[in-house]
């Protein structure tokens, strides 16, 4: 199990403290983000009360219309010196889809497939190493909803 201390994320309840936690602890230290229904609550559960600035620097590639809601390909790319990249959507029972911990000097160019119950918005929040938050939202249509693949 990875015990590397890379990240500086605070605990959900307290203010943001730069203690290093690795990704698996997100499930234990930030339980609220995984049960949050609304995107804002998912973001709050993970990062606390933050203000993310919409950013052109985040390239979020999503299909305009996804034919299969059980496997929607998305690609996230950015040059921002990112520490954490979080993916949310607003149509599933819970809003948080995945959280990437970016290693020091890492490259943010991620591809993966996600499930969405129906048409909606995907929100990406990038936390950079200076502690600033950037966001990007894409809207897409889903032809066949798929929360259960």
């Amino acid at each position: 199990m990875n015990r590397r201390k890379f990240l500086g994320l605070g605990l959900a309840a307290a203010a943001v403290l730069p203690t290093a936690i690795n990704a698996v602890d997100f499930r234990k230290t930030k339980p609220d983000t995984w049960t949050a229904h609304k995107v804002e609550d998912g973001i709050k559960g993970l990062f606390g009360d933050i203000k993310a600035e919409a950013s052109d620097k985040i390239k979020l590639k999503t299909p305009k219309v996804a034919s299969n809601g059980g496997a929607i390909p998305i690609n996230i790319k950015t040059d921002i010196d990112a520490k954490t990249v979080a993916v949310f959507q607003d149509v599933n029972p819970e809003s948080t889809v995945a959280v990437f911990s970016v290693p020091e000097g890492g490259i943010v160019d991620y591809g993966m497939k996600i499930k969405m119950k129906g048409s909606g918005k995907i929100t990406i929040i990038v936390e950079d190493r200076a502690g600033k938050f950037h966001s990007k939202v894409n809207e897409l249509e889903v032809a066949l909803g798929g929360c259960e693949g």
């Binding site: 199990m1 990875n2 590397r4 890379f6 690795n22 990704a23 698996v24 997100f26 499930r27 995984w34 059980g70 496997a71 929607i72 690609n75 959507q89 599933n92 029972p93 819970e94 948080t96 889809v97 995945a98 959280v99 990437f100 911990s101 970016v102 290693p103 000097g105 890492g106 490259i107 160019d109 991620y110 591809g111 993966m112 497939k113 996600i114 499930k115 969405m116 929360c147 259960e148 693949g149």
Partner: protein
């Protein structure tokens, strides 16, 4: 061996990786309908030696048999180095597999 398909190739200092893990990624709602426990990968990490090059906490909303694409810098890595991928799921199961990085 044989749960994950790992493809990783390095060129001009950057390695591109494609990793597919065989996993049902069953969400809570679907599991309830089937009368079984939900189960999905909760953590996937990629390491080369001691260095973590990829780390994601997925949820039940990542697709079945998830395929992840990512990249990392190969500075300091040498021929023969392997990308070691390790995942843990909700049930506590852990699978670790590795593959030599091509092109180093």
């Amino acid at each position: 061996m044989g749960n994950m398909k790992i493809k990783v190739k390095s060129k001009s200092g950057v390695a591109k990786a494609k990793v597919m893990a065989k996993h049902i990624m069953l969400p809570y709602e679907a599991a309830k309908k089937k009368g079984v426990d939900a189960n999905f990968i909760t953590l996937l990490t990629g390491k080369v030696g001691d260095k973590v090059v990829f780390e994601i906490s997925p949820s039940q909303f990542v697709s079945k048999n998830p395929l992840f694409k990512f990249q990392f810098k190969t500075e300091g890595m040498k021929a023969g180095d392997k990308l070691e991928m390790s995942w843990t799921d909700l049930s506590g199961k852990t699978v670790t597999e590795d593959k030599k990085i091509k092109g180093l």
